[in-house]
């Protein structure tokens, strides 16, 4: 640990990224997003607003969606991260959710797609049936500046339907 007076300005981190153990020294001011992109060259994690609004940089931290622009790499020490590169099988076969985006034209410019896909992946992993209204609320933290939301929703809905059964039309009973 490189120290400055009493604390550190760089620190070792040890974490799992897409199933592989990674150990590096990082400057403590480095965001998790920049660590993934610059240090590990995993450039599938996209940086849009860099202050937590757009959702493009969403990754999974121990299975939960988080903004990688609003985390320091040192805060991810000891965790397991999944990025968009971690979804496809080793032979390149796309995950069902990725394939659904292909099949339903969920990609326009696709800058936002990694964030949408990882956010949607948590809904499938959670395994709780949801309505279309729930789905819209769940992905409302991800922005698509092409405004291609209809096909993004169709892509996610088809994958969720496959995994969990059809979505209800509306919320029905309150949450």
């Amino acid at each position: 640990m490189t120290t400055n007076e009493v604390g550190s300005v760089s620190a070792p981190v040890s974490l799992t990224v897409n199933g592989t153990t990674v150990e590096r020294d990082v400057a403590v001011r480095t965001s998790l997003a920049d660590f993934l992109r610059e240090d590990l060259r995993l450039t599938g994690t996209h940086l849009g607003c860099e202050h937590g609004v757009c959702g493009a940089c969403t990754v999974l931290l121990d299975g939960a969606a988080v903004r990688s622009c609003l985390m320091l790499a040192v805060q991810a020490d000891g965790t397991a991260i999944t990025t968009i590169e971690g979804l496809a099988a080793p032979d390149g076969t796309l995950s069902p959710l990725q394939q659904s985006f292909m099949d339903h034209h969920g990609f326009q410019c696709a800058f936002c797609a990694p964030g949408f896909i990882l956010t949607a992946q948590t809904l499938i992993d959670r395994g709780v049936p949801l309505s279309r209204e729930d789905l819209r609320a769940e992905i409302s933290g991800n922005l698509c500046r092409c405004t291609g939301y209809a096909s993004i929703l169709e892509s996610i809905e088809a994958a969720i339907t496959e995994a969990l059964g059809p979505l209800a039309d509306s919320n029905g009973a309150a949450k």
Binding site: R29, G52, S140
Partner: protein, 295 residues
């Protein structure tokens, strides 16, 4: 927007954290989930010289209901609160607030105490703390201090915490049986900061008259506020068209909201009344709903 440089500290005990904060004081900021602090740093609204990361301080993980008090420690995230049946049962107003707070990806990291210490006047949780008469537990090398929510929020992003004090825990009194609660707000898009918001808690006696009421407004000034005149207009009365109208009038008269590029003072005052009206009408029509039920 990259973070400005800082010196990083990661204490592993409360004692060590408090000692660091005592030594570094005004030059340090406490990092819990970072969902308010890191954007502030990214936008260069703040450039602390030291960050004290409290995520390894196990004493701050407490999420418990003990003898009528709901305790939420400084490392408890919004998502943990949102997912805890205990919170829905004993602090339903806190549970009501969760879906309004940003988005799940932010709630997975952001903490309840962090939001309180950040003291954004448009945030939900300061209003919840005011409505529930929460107590905030601060620690420093000088000892422990328990601060009433009504004494905690001093102004825009300003609290009564001293530079060497760590907000360790917030305590909410467990809800009384028969209480109904709701959080309602108007914002441009769901998950954005509110233009006007209301946290409301109300209990009626067997005859239907209100014997306990708390109305806290947010995004209407430099801090969240209790609407005492509107509360007084309702206390001891039943919810009827007339009493609801009187409360709405009292609320609009007591508020003095600021204008900004999203809403004028007159618009905010109007919408505050609309939000109160909607909330009270729902309480009136959901007379059978009692605390502990899914809201």
């Amino acid at each position: 927007m990259k973070f400005p440089g800082f010196v990083y500290h990661r204490p592993t005990s409360l004692e060590e954290a408090v000692e660091l904060l005592g030594r570094l004081g005004g030059e340090a900021k406490v990092l819990a989930g970072g969902q308010s602090l890191l954007p502030v740093m990214a936008l260069r609204l703040g450039q602390p010289e030291h960050l004290i990361d409290i995520s390894r301080v196990r004493e701050l993980d407490v999420l418990a209901h003990d003898e009528g008090v709901v305790r939420v420690g400084a490392m408890v995230t919004h998502a943990q609160v949102e997912d805890a049946p205990m919170i829905r049962r004993y602090a339903p107003l806190l549970a009501d607030a969760m879906p309004w707070i940003a988005h799940r990806a932010v709630r997975n990291r952001g903490t309840v105490c962090g939001s309180l210490a950040h003291a954004d006047p448009a945030a939900e949780l300061p209003a919840i703390a005011l409505a529930l008469d929460a107590s905030l537990v601060a620690r420093s090398v000088r000892g422990e201090r328990i601060i009433a929510a009504s004494d905690f929020f001093e102004g825009f992003l300003t609290t009564s915490l001293a530079p060497d004090e760590l907000l360790c825990e917030v305590r909410f009194p467990a809800v009384a049986p028969g209480t109904v609660t709701a959080v309602n707000e108007v914002c441009r898009r769901h998950g954005d900061y509110a233009m006007v918001g209301l946290a409301a808690s109300l209990r009626r006696d067997s005859a239907g008259s209100i014997d306990d009421i708390a109305l806290a407004l947010f995004a209407i000034g430099s801090t969240a506020v209790r609407a005492t005149n509107a509360e007084n207009a309702l206390r001891g009365r039943a919810l009827t068209d007339d009493t609801i109208a009187a409360a709405v009038t009292a609320l609009r008269e007591e508020l003095d909201p600021p204008g900004d590029n999203h809403a004028s003072p007159a618009y905010r005052r109007h919408v505050a009344g609309v939000v109160l009206d909607r909330t009270l009408r729902r309480f009136a029509s959901d007379a059978e709903t009692i605390s502990g039920d899914a809201a």
